[in-house]
Structures are given as C-alpha cells and as structure tokens.
Symmetry: none
Subunit: 226 residues, 4 copies
C-alpha cells in the first residue's frame, strides 16, 4: 500500500480552486501549509494572513489559488475523500465476498490513519485529523447549497455511494444504505473526538478498536447478516 500512495495523484474538480494548487510550487506550499496550520491552530483561528506568514508568501498570492479559507477546507475535504475512494478501490479489488468488502470499507472509515504516511506532499494523518474535526463546518453553514452546486461534495457522495452499493449487494432490499454509511463516518469522527475530549459521551476502550467494533456490529445487524 505504501508504494501505491507515493505514486497516485488525485485530480480534483476545477471549481474547487481558482488556480490548481498542484500546478506550481507555491500552490503545493499553500495546501501543505494549510494542512499544518489548520492542524495546529484549528480552522476557526486559521486565516490567510497567518497562512501567508507560515509559508513565507503573501495573502495576495494565496488569493490566486483559493477565494476563501472555506474553499481551502472544501478542497482538503474533497481531496481526502477522493483519496479514500482510491484506498477503498485498492483494498477491495479482487475480493469477491461482499461481506468481506464491506468489512474492509468499515475498517477504512473507522480506523485512524497511521502517522507519518504521506501522499502528494500531504501528511495523511493530519488531513484525516482535519476532516475528522472540521469537515462538518463545510456543510453546517448558510452557503452549503451554493457550495454543493459547485460539486464540492461529489467525492464524498461517490465514496458513500460506493459503499452503499456493497450493502445493497448483500441485502438488495435494505432501505437505508446511505444513512448507515454517513452515520458511521460522521459518528466515527465524533467518537474519536469524544474519546479525547468528552469521554462521558462515548464508551472508550483503550487499546481496542472499539469504534470499528461498534459500527461493524450495527451495520451487519442492520442489514440482516452477520
């Protein structure tokens, strides 16, 4: 898998940026610097001014690439889900048993990313952390419909759709495949967060992959197979 990470290159939708950050050195520094800085200070405190200082450039230059800090977050999120889609595709290729495919998908969305892994100058653990902690802020605002029109959530929808298809393969009459998957993805994010900050709202079990266990059980019971 590691070998693959270094070779794949994710191509994203045009309207996720003003100028493709992958097309220049500065663009890459902007993306990479955003990942580092958002990780460090949180998205709410993150501004183009701070980013420009962090990467040794100027706000004006950053504006050539992204029209706002929200668009940066949207870009990171889209990149993350495209990347997850790749990962999923690799991990289930040639696996015939749909239940095994589903289990691998659940593992992918509930497990933490190993620190130190990189893909396209992105520190995967940090991107994953950002998506975990901040990505809800992309939807939960008044511009969601506009951003949605621009295709910002397509990679996420595709990813969710792909796993839903596996569910339907196992149980074609199951009515809520998308709910099951998004509940799991967003729930996993939340419980990882609760585990750190609000343990009374979850059921932490140290040293075990309890988030995976919890959702795996739910999903398989919901669709009626185990």
């Amino acid at each position: 898998m590691i070998d693959v990470l270094s070779t794949i290159h994710i191509q994203l939708n045009d309207n996720l940026y003003l100028k493709d950050p992958e097309s220049s050195d500065l663009g890459k520094r902007i993306v990479q610097g955003s990942v580092e800085l958002i990780n460090e200070i949180g998205f709410d405190q993150f501004t183009f001014r701070k980013l420009s200082q962090h990467i040794g450039s100027t706000e004006a230059s950053i504006y050539r690439y992204f029209e706002s800090k929200y668009k940066v977050l949207v870009y990171l999120s889209a990149w993350y889900w495209s990347f997850m889609d790749y990962q999923l595709a690799f991990s289930i290729t040639n696996v015939k048993d749909p239940q095994l495919r589903l289990e691998r998908a659940i593992r992918l969305i509930t497990e933490a990313v190993d620190k130190g892994k990189h893909c396209q100058h992105m520190n995967l653990a940090k991107v994953s952390q950002i998506v975990n902690d901040e990505s809800l802020k992309i939807y939960l605002n008044r511009e969601v419909d506009q951003v949605n029109k621009e295709g910002a959530f397509l990679p996420y929808k595709d990813f969710v759709g792909r796993i839903s298809d596996i569910i339907l393969e196992i149980n074609p009459s199951y009515e809520y495949p998308h709910m099951l998957i998004t509940t799991t993805i967003e729930g996993a994010h939340l419980h990882r967060f609760f585990g750190k900050h609000l343990p009374r709202l979850t059921d932490v079990k140290k040293g075990e992959d309890y988030i995976f266990d919890f959702y795996k059980e739910i999903i398989f019971k919901a669709i009626g197979k185990s």
Copy 2:
C-alpha cells in the same frame, strides 16, 4: 403537555453566564433575541453588535450577561438538553416496560419539534433548529476542554446517561450504550440537515418518520432485543 411547558422553569448552572439572563427583562430579551437571530442568519454571522441592534440594546450590556457569542450558544444548548431531560422524565414516568421507555426516548431525540410551542419565552422549534444545525460547533473547537470543565455539557451528558441507563436495564451487558445514543442524537441532527441540503447523503422518505425508524431498528438490534 402544553400546560406543563408553560409552568416548568429550567435552572441552569452558574458558570453558563456572567449574570443570569432569567433575572432581568434585558436578560430575557438577550436570550430570546439570540434564538431569533441565530435562526435567521446562522451562528457564524451572528454577532453581539447585530444582537444589540436586534433587541434595541448595546453590546456593552450584553457583555454583562455572556462573555462571548459561544457562551450564548452553549447556554442555549444546555437549556435545550435540560428541557429535553424534563420532557423525557415526563414521558416515561410510570411506564414500566423499559423497551417502551426506550422507544419513547428514541422518538424524542429523532422527531422534529412542533412549531409554535413555547417554554420560558423560548420558541422551542427555533431552539431545536439551532441545536440541530449549530451545536456541533460548541464541541468542535479548541476551547472544548475549558468549556467542558465549566460544566457546559452536563445537561447533555445527563440526558445521554439517563437513556443509556434504560439500555442497560434492557441489556446489562451491552458495551456501548453511550455511543448508541450520541450516534443517534447527532446522526438524527445530521440527517435532518442532509434531507434538506444534501439528499444524496441520506435516504429521504417523504411523509414518513424514516429517521425514527432507522435509528429505532439499529438500537434495538444492537442491544439484542426487538
């Protein structure tokens, strides 16, 4: 139920405010005005300046009650969960069957609030809408540990704990009662939002209470009874 709403009065923790907004007319206008304004323009656009204009007061006066707009949201959230706790208590009093008690609890957390209902000069549907769309922003920031220490989330935790207890009553060996409930609460919020804005991420069924159905099935299957 309506009669009850008008008589109950929720007493909140001291450190949710600087000066108790229930102790004065201005305080009540601040809370009520916040509910209206956040509903109207969203929490991100909401500022003390706009609030002061909305209620015909000044920013300085509002600062006597709350030290920041986040604290207002925390207050509304705490109030909401205290209120939900009341509602839950009422609806399960004298109900012996724990499965029925659990079902009522699930109904409570997955169903939309009726428009027009009020409690303590609060428009319940609006408060509920705010908690639905904005409350994640209370946790998902860098101040969460500090805010948590001050007891901001106690009403939420108590509410979750109370329902978890019902689960344990039904199945004392179930390992993840809190996860099950918070997954349901936050998932219900999210799917209500997705239903409006990002339907491909959910499985909308018009005219049916599909959110209730979905989570009820999951919960009962998870704890091993139906």
Copy 3:
C-alpha cells in the same frame, strides 16, 4: 459679517452622517481634520486610515460617524452650501433692488473666501477650496442617483433655486435660470483652478476680479438687463 459667522450653527440632514459629528468632540475633530487633510493631500489620496492618524484616533471610531470618505465629502459640500445660503440670505436682506441682489449673489459665488475666517471650527477658505477642487467628484460617479435620493444635494439645489428666483424676478420669461447659475458656480470653480494650473484654458488677469466680471456680464446680458 464676521460676528455672524461665529454665532451661526448649521444643522444638516440626518442621512448625511451615521452619527452627528457636531454632537461630540471626536466628531468635530473628524470634520476639522478632514478639511485639513483633504486640503493637504487631495481627496483621492485621503483615506480614513490617514485621517485617523491625523486626528489621533482610529478608523473604527471614524466609521461611527461616516460610512465612507465619499460621505465625508458630501457632508462638507452640504455644509458649505448651507453656509453659502446663510451668507446669501444675510447679504441680500433688506436689499430691494433685485439687480443689486443678483450682483451680490454673483459676487458670493465667484469670489474667493478670505483666508483665516472660521465658522463652526471650519476654516472657510479650506472648505471652499475643497468644494472648488473636489466637489465635482461627488456627482460624477455611479452612485450619484443613490446619493441624490438621500438628499445630499438639497442644500446646493436650494441655493441655486434661491438665486434663480432672483433672476426670474428680474426677467420672469427667462428660460434658463438654473443653467445660468450652475454654469457660473461650476465655471468659477474651474477657472479658479485653471488660473493656477492651466492658464491657457482661461484668461487670467492678475489683481483683478476677472472671474466676477466675466460671469456678471454674461448673466446680465443673458437675462436682458444691464
């Protein structure tokens, strides 16, 4: 006349400002400082930042009084024409002969203001200079219709109307009284400017009040009396 200047106080339309600059010390410093600074560096180079430094305050404070630098110029212009209206009223009171009244009006609009005179902490010569050099920028832009709706030009229109009435008194059938006066006012401004910077576009005569002579002759010949 001088005694009068120090006692009169001009009350301007509400929507020329956000907060009446005459109502506070800071407000007065804003207006006075604007007059000085626009005189010094020109309206194009004039910004709220520079003004705030000039008067030892902050941009934020200035924004409490005026929503933009254009509104400041509009305010100064409105103040100037209200003031001119006063001056006109005083100088023609009890003068029966309409031709003499008209001559005095022409003198008022074609003559330079004496340096050193003040009214309401305003240096009259400087305000006059600003109106002379910059006031056309108030009309000649895309917001003119909006600004006009807000009544910004009422004092100017009133002033022009008052002199037009004198013309009609002398010759009730004269068709272009407003054109005659505005041509004179704006022409006088322009020729004062040309005299300094583009002499080939005017006919400077040093030591004589040639601007007054030129327009007086034109006006009286136009309305058919001399």
Copy 4:
C-alpha cells in the same frame, strides 16, 4: 462626413503612452477595451486587472503601453480633442462668415455624438460619453501640473485656441475668449449629466437642443453680436 471618419488617423504626442497603442493589435484592443469598459463600469471602478480580463490579456502586457489608468484616460481625452479639432477644421473650411463658423463650433461642442459612428476602431459616442463624464478627473487631481508638462492637454488647448481665434476675429477686443469656450465645453458636459441625474440643477427641455441654444445666446451676447 462618414467617409472622412473612416480615413482619418490621429497621431498623438509620444509621451501620452509608453508604447504606441496604434502600433499593434494588442494596443488597439487595449484602447478599444478601455473605451468599452470605462463606459460600462465608470472610470473609478476601472482597473488594469478588469481591463486585462475584458480583452483577454494580462495586466503586465497593458503596462507596456500605459503606465497607469489615468494615462489611459488622458490618452482618450487627447484623442477625442484631436478628433474634435479635425471635425471643426472640416466643418468650417471654406466658410467665410466668422459668425457662421462660430455657430458651427458651438454646435460641435454642445451637441451629442450620433451613436454608431466609429473612427479608428473607436466608438465615438462612447468616447464622447467618457470625456463628458470623466475627463474632469484628469485635471482635478494633484498630478495635473506634471501631466500638463508632458503635453497631455495640448489637443484640448489647441481646440479651445482655434475657437477663441474665431471669437477674436468677430470682436478683437473681447477679453475672455478662452473662458467663454471652456465655460461652454465644460458647462455643456455638466448639463448633459445634470439632465440625466440632477434635473433640478438645469432646465431640461425635452426634444429641443436647449444646451446649444443656451450657450449660443450667451456667447453671441457676450461678444456683442447676434
């Protein structure tokens, strides 16, 4: 006249540009695009960035031709007055009667340009409109003396001088020929503007050429002949 327009080519002073816009296709697009864009959004909103997008080029390229947007306006103005000079020369050639020559000159400077006429890829009505609404901004700023030294206003001065000469031919002792002409030119601009936006400041008469009538009367009376 139309035939003439298409053949004449106006040669302008070297220091009105860095590189002659008539010397290349891009140069012509810059000038033509400026005319369109200034007409559309106004000179104040006009920037090299917007122009570069409008003509499908880059800011850097435009800087090869003009050092600032002011210089573009100066160039357009100079072109316009050179063109007007041509028009005047044509229309009075072989006309012996100076009073008729003067009348034709007055007509030229007070009448609107027909829509649709072009000369040198310039839409004449648009250039005329720009000169009408924006050209005062060329003089009324702090750089006027510098710009004047560079000869920016020579075509205007020449044009004014030529008409002044006609006046002096009619009445050699008239003292203010330049004032009379510039008052008329700038006054005509202003009243055309007032007619659209501030009618109380002029005396609009629909369907008649009142601006011509007004100034013709003034001029002939001023120089003592009718």
